[in-house]
Symmetry: C2
Subunit: 363 residues, 2 copies
DNA sequence: CTGAAAGCGCTTACAG
DNA sequence: CTGAAAGCGCTTACAG
């Protein structure tokens, strides 16, 4: 049985003598107490809390001192009710990679630390016919302060439109510019894939395959285009017959690579659209008795922990997911504060050269 | 600039004619509207919402119909303010494995789906001197409905005590019984490790090593004890010289295995306390020119995705993390509703036999 | 079984 | 620059 409300006075139950003096029960201090103690109206305390400039600095200092003295923190639920807006930041995602999800969460939480904002999770499925309806219900009921949309949720134009109509602030993380700078964190997937292509080409490969992600992901298009571009710089044309579509999953990586390996003219290098699929290529290679990098060079994208644990350690492209999450959260808070970003926030990927790509044997 | 409040009437901005009729703006329907329409007091509507038995069934039906008709959902912030308790479920964790964290989140979210509860994340660091203070601040400020504590946070007795003092409901997930059944989800790590031991022993090994997790994790003790017990059943005594402490990380797995491999009498099998360390053993084995399972059998614990992607596919022990998360959330909601569980909820691990363990060469 | 009053802890207009 | 009044949308005693 919940016994909320019968909270014993003093709070934390008689501490041992060697402990520091128990902090006063902060849960009881309200805006009224502060107002009374500071000899001002609660409205003035409210102004101080909300950093209104309409307070004499002397008054502000006095109030601030009392607040600190009593460890007062405004009640988020009460503020939410009055403001018709909660202090929850929603992360709405459908990304299948746990590593991506966790890193992004960490980044957002980094930025939210020591604020009164809380991170709330909304996993979802874009294939669900009630997808938009469910998110609308969430937004209407919880009135989140704002939401963060990583790919591929970020690419849903109807969702963005709905959020705007509901006056819900949001930040989209995507590999292409889909929105105004105040609502975008951009990743240069194109550049990352181009770097991978340059590296593979410089190694001397010419029969180069690419397993790209599903067409419903913009990143899949960007990485494909970037790869093609990087190859073109070395006067190599990406062979359509060696370009296949995977599902960003391990299994699809295995299948696509097997298909590639069954050709009479095998590719000597494979660039997979993400690490998951690249690890699938590792497996297919072993199934075909092929060694990496001697028989096939393999390059991935993401630099998940698996990339460095697998054998041989994987050459891949790294995007600073955690930093991206942090940037998205910061942008969201600034957006709410009315601060316009000077320029579009963007992240460049980095090529991580390890041991899975080498010159071709017969090169 | 946030434009909250200037929400246009009608909500979602003129839909195209082919769209379904726009749902009424649910954000505006309040308990007062329902009360007026149902011809009762708002208190009665409140009783219906809260499933109080003190309502004539006829009245309840009438109110329920109106509620459904207007798609009314009570405002969580307003309820929270009145109840002095929010509808947030906190997950407080320090588990280093992203896979564990994500699976547990999924389980909790499964159970919370279609309720008004939201999952809020609180990663933390038990080594932080302000650890308890920070969590206390979270609980006091957010007044979460309850919190879920996976290992090793669940093992912190001081934390549990603090939560009780603050009247905050919680559920602990741990490998040993630390609390009453209403507050515990137990995992039989002991059994899982014993099964691993039996499997290794049955394969014919006798020089068997164990890399256990840090002593600050109860699971490390349980797995060690279970492993010892499983071996004892085959009259094998766990060799102290072959029992080393790792940190549940890849790197520590590499180091510990290397130390083991440098001995004149190498172990023919290694049981690692988790998959991360087991993958470290894979690496060390390669560094020493040892092949698995021919030269060393390797067994892990957790069955992370990596276990099946690595070569050779890893024999390991699987705990149903997602189910555990779901069970923890369900228990928390029942606890709040005053329902006592009939018995302790517990999960048994399963041995997943793949290809990394085989009879010893010279066996 | 039902309701009118007061209150949860804040903020938004509106005055001054 | 500051404040008294009213309100956000619910619920808890208290009556009946």
């Amino acid at each position: 049985m919940a016994k909320r409300g019968s909270r014993p006075a003093g709070g934390r139950g008689g501490g041992a003598p060697e402990q520091e003096p128990p902090p006063r029960d902060r849960s009881k201090v309200t805006i009224n107490d502060i107002a009374r103690l500071a000899n001002v109206s609660k409205k003035t305390v409210s102004r101080v809390i909300n950093e209104s400039p309409l307070v004499r600095s002397e008054t502000r200092e006095r109030v601030l001192t009392i607040i600190k003295q009593h460890g007062y923190t405004p009640d988020p639920q009460a503020r939410a009710l009055a403001l018709r807006r909660s202090f929850l930041i929603g992360m709405i995602y459908d990304n299948p990679s746990p590593q991506y999800v966790v890193n992004m969460q960490r980044g957002i939480l980094d930025e939210l630390e020591d604020t009164s904002f809380q991170l709330v999770l909304r996993p979802c499925d874009r294939a669900d016919p009630r997808f938009h309806e469910k998110i609308e219900a969430f937004v209407v009921q919880q009135k989140p302060f704002g939401v963060i949309l990583p790919p591929s949720v970020s690419e849903d134009e109807k969702l963005a439109e709905m959020l705007r109509a509901l006056n819900c602030d949001y930040v989209r993380i995507a590999s292409v510019v889909l929105d105004e700078p105040a609502r975008m964190v951009r990743t240069h997937d194109f550049e990352g894939a181009a770097a991978a292509a340059r590296h593979i080409a410089a190694l001397g490969h010419s029969r180069i395959a690419h397993i790209h992600g599903p067409k419903t992901f913009r990143s899949a298009h960007e990485r494909l285009a970037g790869f093609r571009q990087g190859l073109a710089e070395s006067a190599i044309e990406l062979d359509k017959a060696l370009t296949v579509e995977g599902g960003y999953t391990f299994e699809s990586g295995v299948e696509c690579a097997a298909r590639l390996f069954r050709r009479k003219q095998r590719p000597t290098a494979i660039f997979a659209g993400n690490d998951e699929m690249a690890v699938g290529v590792y497996k297919a290679a072993r199934d075909f008795g092929l060694k990496a990098p001697e028989d096939v060079s393999i390059v991935g994208f993401d630099d998940t922990p698996m990339a460095s644990r697998v054998w041989p350690p994987m050459t891949t492209v790294r995007l600073p997911i955690r930093d991206m999450g942090r940037a998205a959260a910061r942008l969201l808070l600034r957006q709410a504060a009315g601060v316009e970003p000077e320029e579009l926030i963007a992240f460049k990927p980095e090529l991580i050269i390890r041991e899975s790509a080498a010159p071709p044997k017969n090169g």
